[in-house]
């Protein structure tokens, strides 16, 4: 059996590892931490702004500029990845590649995204809806007045507005503290007795016909928690993802990890991958910085899914030199000046578009040729998108991972 090493366990790494294991490869997944999925919103963005708001993401994918990752990935690549994702976590992601949802955020903006968790869908609001945003007094990362205030003054993508009001409930997720994290609440909401108590506190405060917005902490393990709560309240409810720690992201992370383990992926985490050996144009092995002696992992093919600047895969030193920190790969976009501009609201910083260039098989390119025949990149490391502003990171990650995996499987 051929061995493939995947480095990085964010969305790209986990999708690649699952896909490779499903295709019969012996997969070792190396990661420093547990991946960045729980830092994100727990939905799958494909393309949200170009910079106008996108209603049909797949259609928008076909129109990106040359140099954007989607230009190499293509619409078919995205479609394949989205259906594979839904297969991997069938109870967690739903949606239509041809229609974005527009879901309220924790500051009350309407955020376009493609696949969302079932517990979030009632947030795709119709004009004239009445929304009640429910804060939890002991959860500081969700401020209902801010959400409701901004939601109420926002014009919906199809025109019209909603009305929104804020209320607070002092639900005690854990005795003895009033600064509970989202995770503490999620664990509490997994308990049917807590849900029942919460519903009893909240129900009298709701008006007829209101849609209930809640922070995305309604259960971590129990996939029916939101449905159960909605039934008890007699109102539709929806969850709004929070900044880290994002329970919605954590759900996705746990589900994809469990799936990978079940598929036989060998996971080695906790240590950074810091070096490699190559034979001509092929990577032979990578090395992990175990102490006091490094450990070597040989493989026939490698998928580099280490992320971007946020993950330390790309780094800029104090002299302004940008590097890819593991293989020293050639970078695209690092020559632009300025890489960082001084106006916070003046558009995305060019530095965050820096990354590696790839061919349609996701092989990393230098001077138009693959740098190493058996090295592919997936995810945020790929240059050319402003993924946070345009809401494209997840689609790029999943699709590049699937393409990288499929082309490896074809070769092995």
């Amino acid at each position: 059996m051929s061995r493939v090493v995947v480095i990085g366990s964010g969305l790209a790494g986990l999708v690649a590892a699952n896909r490779l294991a499903d295709g019969g490869a012996d997969v070792v997944l190396l990661s420093k931490g547990i991946g960045g999925l729980q830092l994100g919103q727990g939905t799958v963005d494909v393309l949200g702004y170009t910079p106008e708001r996108v209603t049909n993401p797949i259609k928008a994918v076909t129109k990106v500029d040359k140099g954007h990752p989607y230009a190499a990935i293509g619409a078919q690549g995205v479609l394949t990845a989205l259906s594979y994702l839904k297969e991997l976590v069938p109870d967690l992601l739903v949606g239509d590649p041809e229609a974005n949802y527009h879901l309220p955020t924790a500051v009350g903006a309407l955020r376009p995204t493609c696949l969302a968790q079932p517990s979030m869908l009632a947030g795709n609001l119709k004009a004239g809806s009445a929304v009640v945003v429910v804060g939890l007094r002991r959860l500081k990362d969700f401020q209902p007045e801010l959400v409701a205030g901004n939601l109420a003054r926002t014009e919906l993508p199809d025109g019209g507005r909603v009305s929104a009001r804020a209320i607070n409930v002092d639900a005690v997720a854990r005795e003895g503290e009033i600064d509970s994290s989202g995770l503490v609440f999620a664990n509490a909401f997994d308990d049917p007795a807590f849900r029942a108590r919460f519903a009893a506190m909240l129900a009298p405060q709701l008006n007829d016909g209101e849609i209930v917005a809640l922070p995305a902490v309604i259960g971590l393990k129990d996939r029916q928690a939101h449905q159960d709560l909605s039934t008890q309240l007699g109102h539709p409810i929806f969850e709004i993802p929070l900044p880290p720690p994002s329970v919605a992201g954590l759900r996705l992370n746990q589900a994809l990890n469990a799936r990978a383990q079940a598929a036989g992926v060998r996971m080695v985490s906790g240590v950074r991958t810091v070096g490699f050996t190559a034979d001509g144009d092929r990577i032979r092995s990578v090395r992990n910085a175990t102490v006091p002696a490094e450990r070597e992992y040989r493989a026939d093919a490698f998928v580099l899914a280490t992320g971007g600047f946020e993950a330390g895969a790309l780094s800029m030193d104090s002299y302004g030199t940008v590097t890819e920190t593991l293989f020293g790969l050639p970078l695209v976009g690092a020559e632009n000046t300025p890489l960082i501009h001084g106006d916070y609201w003046g558009g995305e910083q060019p530095i965050f578009r820096v990354g590696v260039a790839v061919d349609p098989q996701m092989r990393v390119l230098g001077n138009g040729q693959p740098v190493y025949a058996n090295l592919r990149a997936a995810g945020d490391l790929i240059a050319g998108s402003s993924r946070w502003s345009e809401k494209s990171g997840d689609g790029i990650a999943a699709a590049s991972a699937v393409l990288a995996a499929d082309s490896i499987l074809k070769e092995l």
Partner: protein
């Protein structure tokens, strides 16, 4: 239009103005302080936090050295809570001239600045991150001081003595009658209201802006030469004592542990406009290089934030106008009677934060003399009401406080351990304040994440407090992020760039903050 009448109007809400208004009030005059922004928003808040032992000046400026040593002792007592008695070292770097240390020791003895040479090994044991190649080490009584706490402390003390402190009041005009100051006009920037204050005396403490103020009263131009200095805060204390290079004063010769950070400073470049201070890339690089000399690996340590301040130096013909560092740091009081035929106004310039109390004493003495009154200065004798009452500041204090209230209150700014109550209390005191105003008192958003996690929480809490509406809340958040960025982008690299990537992920990505609706009409913040 509002009308007031006071004995003395003090213009400028930096350390000098705050010290002066306190002194004036303590001597029994009715007085008002006018500040166009928030207290300590100018030069006072934009320095490196050093409370001089005097060591820096023992060779170059002996008079300043003695004054610093005396004022250091006074401030450590009367404003104990704003001062951390860190102690300091003067170290001879590997390539520095070791004989300067001899001049230093001689100068210290002559000026009364306590200093003693210690074995290099002892210095390295106490400060393990210091360059192992240092050749000599001299221990001094440097401390660090929070400039904002210092100013607020003085202002609160002044209030206690009946002074009014009017922040966000911009002076627009100074009336004179028969060659004597008669009234000061200003605008309340928060509501656009004009305020006229009848007065017999104006003390111009506007620092780098003092020339602009003097001109309003029709005085001849006062040549204030703003000297720009940049500072870079590193994300934690690389040293726990102030570390100075034992050389003739130069750029980047000091590393100061203030609160949870350490600050390297500074440069000195003559500028024309104190309201437009750039943080130049080459100066940032210069600071990093200077840091490497003191603490090897400095360039790989995490830089958090940079800022620039303008020194308010009065022109002195003894040195070239382009070299502001070697101008007198001693204070200069300009008497507009002899100079311009204008009675009832004094302008003060020069000096340094460590001697702010003494400067105030001098200018108020000068005023009393002109008024022909003998009122004695008592500012050195009395502790400030809040921060003077307790022990000196220690860096562990918030950790200690949170250990006791952590389960009963929420921590809103986790980097700087600011609790919800601290925030709501400050907001109730200053309901019209911006988040930057609150930041200066609370350190909100001043830690490693630079507002990434706390600013959304703070916005929501402020909104829920009902002091502000949704449009103002949203605009305050936007302004706060914009202002944090001003000090972030010039130093961005390494770990701080990584933090910024995560912060952008949260704000632009998860929260989609770029697509919040705009305010229907301009919101005055």
């Amino acid at each position: 239009m509002r009308k007031l009448a006071v004995d003395v109007v003090v213009i400028g809400g930096g350390s000098t103005g705050a010290g002066v208004v306190r002194d004036v009030a303590m001597r029994g005059y009715s007085t008002v302080l006018l500040e166009r922004a928030d207290l300590g928003q100018g030069t006072t808040g934009r320095f490196h936090g050093l409370l001089h032992s005097g060591g820096r000046y023992v060779v170059s400026d002996p008079l300043s050295a003695t004054e610093c040593a005396q004022e250091n002792a006074i401030l450590s007592r009367i404003q104990a809570g704003a001062v951390e008695m860190t102690g300091g070292y003067f170290v001879t770097g590997p390539d520095d001239d070791p004989s300067f240390a001899d001049k230093f020791l001689a100068g210290a003895a002559a000026t009364g600045v306590p200093a003693q040479e210690i074995p290099v090994a002892e210095a390295l044991r106490n400060e393990p991150r210091l360059n192992r190649g240092i050749k000599r080490a001299i221990e001094v009584l440097d401390g660090t001081v929070d400039g904002w706490q210092l100013v607020w402390g003085a202002a609160n003390s002044a209030r206690h003595y009946g002074a009014q402190i009017l922040t966000y009041h911009k002076v627009t005009k100074i009336d004179t009658v028969d060659g004597h100051v008669a009234a000061v006009h200003c605008t309340d920037l928060k509501n656009g209201e004009d305020v006229v204050i009848e007065t017999g005396f104006v003390l111009n403490c506007a620092g780098p802006w003092a020339g602009q103020i003097a001109a309003m009263a029709g005085a001849h131009p006062v040549d204030v030469i703003p000297g720009r200095g940049i500072m870079v805060a590193m994300s934690h204390r690389l040293v726990n004592r102030v570390v100075n290079r034992c050389i003739y004063p130069a750029d980047g010769d000091i590393l100061v542990p203030v609160h949870t950070v350490s600050i390297i400073g500074t440069t000195d470049v003559k500028v024309d406009d104190p309201d437009n201070l750039a943080i130049e890339a080459n100066e940032v690089q210069q600071m990093f290089d200077a840091g490497e000399v003191l603490v090897p690996g400095f360039r790989k340590a995490r830089a958090l934030h940079a800022w620039a301040g303008a020194r308010p130096l009065i022109k002195d013909n003894r040195v070239a106008a382009t070299d502001t560092r070697h101008m007198s740091r001693g204070m200069a009081v300009i008497d507009h009677t002899t100079r311009d035929g204008l009675d009832g106004m004094l302008t003060i310039g020069g000096g340094k934060l460590t001697t702010y109390r003494l400067m105030a004493e001098h200018i108020v003495d000068a005023m009393c003399e002109k008024l022909g009154e003998k009122r004695v200065c008592r500012t050195a004798d009395e502790d400030m009401p809040v921060e003077g009452a307790g022990p000196n500041y220690v860096v562990t204090h918030r950790l200690h406080d949170r250990e006791h209230d952590r389960l009963d209150d929420q921590i809103i700014c986790e980097c700087e351990l600011m609790s919800r109550k601290m925030f709501t209390d400050a907001l109730a005191e200053q309901p019209k304040g911006t988040f930057d105003d609150l930041r200066r008192q609370l350190r909100l958003g001043m830690g490693p994440c630079q507002g990434g996690f706390c600013s959304m929480r703070a916005t929501g809490i402020a909104l829920a407090s009902e002091h502000i509406d949704i449009e103002r809340a949203t605009e305050l958040l936007r302004l706060f992020l914009k202002n944090r960025w001003i000090g972030l982008w010039p130093i961005l690299h390494g770990e701080q760039l990584r933090q910024t990537a995560l912060d952008n992920w949260i704000f632009a990505g998860t929260l989609d903050i770029e697509h919040l609706p705009a305010a229907e009409s301009e919101v005055v913040l």
